[in-house]
Amino acid sequence: MILAQDLYKSFGTLCAVGGVSFSAHDGQITGLLGANGAGKTTTLRMLYTLMRPDRGRILVDGLDATREPVAVRRRLGVLPDARGLYRRLTARENIAYFAALQGLSGALAAERIDQLIDLLGLQAIADRRTEGFSQGERLKTALARALVHDPRNVLLDEPTNGLDVMATRTLRDFLRSLRAQGRCVLLSTHVMQEVTALCDRIVIIAQGRVVADGTPDELRELSGQHSLEEAFIQLIGAATLEAPA
């Protein structure tokens, strides 16, 4: 369960996030939808404590992210926009490194790593160095290392970026299985099909602010449009008009 209350973040004179509030619930997939530069990544970075909000509050399973960042990070599995792997380590070693940093070791870590390798279909490449991996293979490895500590909450920044159709499909199925396990899944995307196919709740962000928040049906109703894409355009357009120049 993730709660964001009135988040603000500026870089110099640039206001990246100006008043974002929403909640992401357990057992649901929540999508942060917005155009490039709308403030999605900055919002996520505040959620996973890489950045401190200038104002506002973040609660992860009831823990304050500003006051207890380390405890909050323990409860989060994060696939950031930057998902570089260590090229000279095998996929398994990459995952094991993060397991060790999470404090897992020995048989427990090995078991958990094997489990994830099975779940994500990484068996064939698990003991190969990640140099030369395809986008899909790299994403799966990054996902495995993000989830190695079995976090209740999963944050993903544009997870399907650069994936082919098959890899996207596998990823979606995997995210649904995380939802089925009762986890709180929060992903950001600028792809409409992504939210249509996956999300139970959609938070639309434009120019650093939440312009709409609801289920896909609610959003369609709110904008009076039949397709979600039309609804999105309508809502974002409204935000652009409202924004002070």
Binding site: Y48, T49, L50, M51, R52, V70, A71, R73, R74, L76, V78, P80, D81, A82, R83, G84, L85, Y86, R87, R88, L89, E93, Y97, F98, A100, L101, Q102, G103, R129, A142, R145, A146
Partner: protein, 396 residues
């Protein structure tokens, strides 16, 4: 809960494992770093020494104008190692100016008449003092002429029934008190620098990779999202870089041990100790400096946005240790206590002392170590502050 050092250990082990698979790191830490210094040192020293030796034994080429006027003199000079050049022609001045010959000797027409009459016979030497090799060659020619003049003078006195010692009221004998500083003194002053250089090169790639490299490959952000305080991650990286740096330094010392056998120490008249005992003493002297170098490298490279930028910064940092070496070799100043409080300078002084076979005084040694460690701690504090900033992780 885990022990506080556990995360640093995890990072340390991972950095070591990854680096051991990196050909670039291995090449730098285990080959270039340790071998570059000793190799350069031996080659430079041999070149210098053999040059000096050659000059002493080689025939001395001199153009002589009017050789026919003094056949005895010329024959004597030839016996002493002079080689008569015919390049002089009639105009020795022009021959030297145009650099066709380095030295020219003119025997004027009045020579034989003066000689036979027992009057001082004039000779002219033409040379260009701005040319590098002129000094030693000129000295040799003068010595040859002096020797001929001395012998002739002695003979003339004996013919007249006088003791030749009459014309030698003084007998000079030089006793050089510069113990271990021979002709290679300048190079010896550079030796500590060669050692420090291997330490600089040894951990260089690891330092670059640790922050700038991770950021460039977009793996720093995921790393920092782990529930680990950032100073532990920094500490792990510092320790791993230290390990490689230290390995490089140890290998360099062993290489110097071997190189010692190839040094023409005897020809140089230089006594220089580089046995296992000296190496054993240099290692602890260098340890605080290794730490300082590593922390400084990591501090500097963490500000770079790419590995390329980091390389540029390190290149500049690399030049820093030359300064005390050059100062020490140019100004033969006596070491003062405060100099040991200057990191780099203190270690260079200590290493020079060890190489000269002297024992280290405990006071300056401890002072040098403490001052260096203090600066390393300050650099670590600065690196840690930089690690805590938000923009550190951002790859763009």
């Amino acid at each position: 809960m885990r022990a506080p050092g556990a995360a640093a250990r995890v990072v340390f082990l991972k950095e070591c494992r990854e680096s051991l698979r990196d050909r670039r790191v291995l090449l730098n830490a285990l080959l270039i770093g340790p071998l570059l210094g000793p190799l350069l040192f031996v080659v430079l020293l041999r070149l210098t020494v053999s040059r000096q030796l050659e000059q002493a034994v080689r025939p001395l080429p001199v153009a002589i104008v009017g050789a026919a006027r003094a056949p005895n003199l010329v024959a004597d000079l030839q016996q002493q190692g002079l080689q008569v050049l015919d390049g002089g022609g009639a105009d020795p001045q022009q021959a030297v100016r145009s650099q066709r010959v380095a030295l020219a000797l003119r025997i004027p027409a009045s020579y034989s008449a003066d000689w036979r009459a027992g009057r001082p016979a004039q000779l002219e030497i033409f040379y260009d003092s701005s040319r590098r090799d002129t000094g030693p060659a000129l000295q040799r020619l003068r010595a040859m002429l002096d020797s001929y003049a001395q012998r002739t003078a002695a003979m003339r006195l004996m013919v007249r029934g006088l003791a030749p010692t009459l014309t030698t009221p003084l007998l000079l004998a030089g006793r050089d008190q510069a113990t271990a500083r021979g002709r290679g003194a300048l190079l010896f002053a550079m030796l500590p620098y060669f050692l420090i250089m291997s330490s600089l090169v040894g951990g260089m790639w690891l330092a670059i990779d640790s922050t700038a490299g991770e950021r460039e490959r977009a793996s720093l952000e995921p790393l920092l999202i782990n529930p680990v305080p950032r100073d532990r991650i920094l500490l792990g990286k510092v320790l791993a870089t230290c390990a490689f740096n230290f390995a490089s330094l140890t290998l360099a010392l062993l290489a110097f041990l071997v190189a010692g056998y190839f040094l023409p120490a005897a020809q140089m008249g230089v006594s220089f100790s580089f046995g296992p005992g000296v190496i054993g003493s240099i290692l602890p002297v260098m340890m605080p400096l290794v730490l300082l170098i590593v922390v400084a490298q990591i501090l500097v490279t963490a500000f770079a946005r790419s590995t390329r930028e980091a390389q540029t910064y390190l290149g500049l940092l690399q030049l820093l240790p030359i300064i005390p070496s050059v100062v020490l070799s140019l100004l033969p100043i006596h070491s003062r206590l405060w100099m040991y409080a200057v990191p780099l300078l203190g270690q260079q002084l200590s290493i020079m002392q060890l190489l000269r076979g002297e024992a280290l005084a405990p006071g300056p040694t401890v002072l040098s170590a403490l001052a260096t460690l203090l600066l390393a701690a300050a650099a670590f504090w600065a690196a840690r502050r930089n690690y805590e900033t938000e923009r550190l992780a951002i790859s763009v």
